[in-house]
Symmetry: C2
Subunit: 374 residues, 2 copies
């Protein structure tokens, strides 16, 4: 394991809340916990001390009892596994209530190991047949509805011209809505709407289960001609996302933020990692909705999805979580048009007879924003 | 979907930090978010309103601006998937910084769906050939070591008579320590030590990767005669744990707490859910070590692992995270003997020549505690 030149490190930035006289010691302890996880007095191999043990690269005050601690971690400890990358970034340290992971710069060779989105923004645009305006998405709810009822809803949304229609992320494989019934029913509703509108809306089913169950459901979705699927990587497992996007490289993967919490790993970083692991679209809770994210956080999420990151394709940011028809312009002003707007519950407040018309108004709002700013 | 009698609910307890005049509204919003996730004005199906929408069962003050909110969730929304259970318990609500999930009572039929440990405490005792004393475990470190070096360490630990030897949870499939080399090398070290001691120590390899990679590694471990494996369900995916423990029902699964954080889901509940999903042993950070868990939290973790829970087998609590030789008696006083003590770094402070002797001292300490209290 001898190496003459030191390789680039993963640069992880932690926010640490502690007394000033303790911060150097705490920073060093995080560096050890996130690498060799044992007293350094017991590490006798010089190569490990130099190239594997985490290194404190900086400690900066950020407020009263608040510090930014920058630590260099060896990419060699990650190997090629996504779960192990999260493990080395935050695994045991997640159990320290006064530490959170704010950002991580991943060296280019490790970015290439995971490879990012297969489709990215361009692929999603091509799927929707839309060149420059923002994309539109709605959601099938509520939980508890039968496949027939959800398919009927999907049909209305499609008549209204939405680009994508996703399952509520609570739709899994329940007695009242078996995946094997729901996915074909909704796919059929899309094809029937296409006969009327001349344009295919993409239904995006929600996937839950073990890898094998999800893989079987993707195969079913594929048989129904579906081109995009959704899963929650924090619960399904990020390594499964990587394996699935490799196995189904022609599909688009939507990442749902369920269970990403907010205390230990900053949302912009979480979403950036989802992009790294293969998410083509990253759904997140936008400012001013049901969740308390700031504009700054939302800017960070959009940047993580779209800004250059090695050779990775860009992922589509999908602001959601309480977005309304009235907020289309404000939202596009903020995110720009390389965005997919997801309006769920606000559309469902209308009677079924009104759904297609309201969806069309949503789509028109997005289209005309594009025209006005052209 | 008509039902005359209301079925038992999942009773979820959340801790909510908010103003007193907002708490009823916030509680209701959590109940909606964790079930139908849309404005109730848009839910037109009476059956869904009555049987699927979450119900606020109680709101109790717990301090200044602090409340316990109890919500009944429909088990029907879970189906039979472990990830979906976490999704319904905390998915989107995890993104509210002022809410945490403290406990959840799962109705017996849903407990039976997941089924819990295959081996449990009795199975682990049988594996170790130990009837009543506490079990012992040590850990292979540091990260960066070659398979040969780790196998040599494992050999010393085995000569000292440890019942189990686990990989450091940072050991995955790295260039310097390929799983296909490490697992056979350590398994061989166990067999060689057995020839000397007459007693087999169980090596417990750390598993990372997608389901398919982990499954392949388990098959390799099985070929080497190994009987126990370790994974971190929060990163590997809880649904994968369920699928793996079903597929490999004769093996024992150790659950590592990496990435379980601490802010949004109470550790005792997290560990209880790991038991539900099939962990035979739950590793956790014990009080007084490197992590800040209180005795009360640790008591809760041990209770969640061992107390009656429907028809599920009991899981073995494995206190760790900075345990030392000097703390054996104190730790056994606290947890009792249905426990596995895991000492990692403290043993590794000794020179290689001393390791077997120190491990033997650790094992003797545990044995003689049993004799003294017999």
């Amino acid at each position: 394991m001898e190496r003459a030149v030191e390789e680039p490190r993963i640069v992880a930035r932690y926010r640490l809340r502690c007394d000033a006289d303790a911060v150097e010691d705490r920073a060093q302890k995080i560096a050890v916990e996130q690498s060799v996880e044992m007293p350094l007095a017991g590490v006798r191999d010089r190569e490990i001390m130099e190239n594997i043990v985490g290194k404190v690269l900086g400690v900066e005050p950020r407020g009263e009892r608040l510090f930014e601690v920058t630590i260099g971690l060896s990419p060699r400890t990650v190997g090629a596994d996504a779960g192990q990358l999260l493990n080395m970034l935050l695994g045991n340290t997640s159990m320290h209530e006064d530490v959170s992971l704010e950002d991580a710069e991943i060296p280019e060779p490790l970015l290439d190991v995971f490879g990012g989105p297969n489709q990215g923004i361009e692929g999603l645009r091509a799927l929707a047949g839309v060149k420059r305006r923002a994309l539109t998405c709605s959601a099938l709810k509520p939980q508890g509805s039968s496949p027939e009822r959800l398919a009927a809803l999907a049909h209305e949304f499609a008549l209204g011209g939405a680009d994508f229609i996703k399952d509520d992320h609570g739709l899994a494989d329940q007695e009242y809505s078996r995946f094997v019934e729901r996915a074909p029913a909704c796919a059929r509703a899309m094809r029937e709407a296409e006969k009327i509108t001349g344009r295919l809306t993409h239904y995006v089913p929600s996937l839950w289960g073990s890898f094998e169950e999800i893989d079987a459901r993707i195969r079913l979705a594929r048989d129904e001609g579906l081109r995009a699927v959704m899963l929650a990587p924090a619960l399904v497992g990020v390594s499964n996302l990587v394996a699935l996007k490799r196995k189904h490289a022609d599909l688009a993967f939507f990442a749902h933020p369920s269970f990403t919490g907010g205390a230990r790993i900053a949302q912009p970083l979480y979403n950036k990692l989802y992009r790294l692991f293969g998410a083509d679209a990253v759904i997140f809770a936008t400012f001013g909705g049901r969740f308390g994210y700031s504009r700054e956080t939302c800017r960070g999420i959009a940047d993580g999805a779209r800004k250059p990151l090695g050779r990775l394709r860009r992922a589509m940011p999908v602001p959601a979580g309480g977005l309304t028809l009235a907020r289309v312009n404000e939202t596009l002003d903020f995110y720009g048009e390389e965005t997919m707007l997801l309006i769920g519950g606000d559309l469902l407040l209308f009677d079924r007879g009104e759904l297609a018309r309201q969806t069309a108004a949503f789509v028109r709002g997005v289209e005309s924003y594009g025209e006005a700013s052209a």
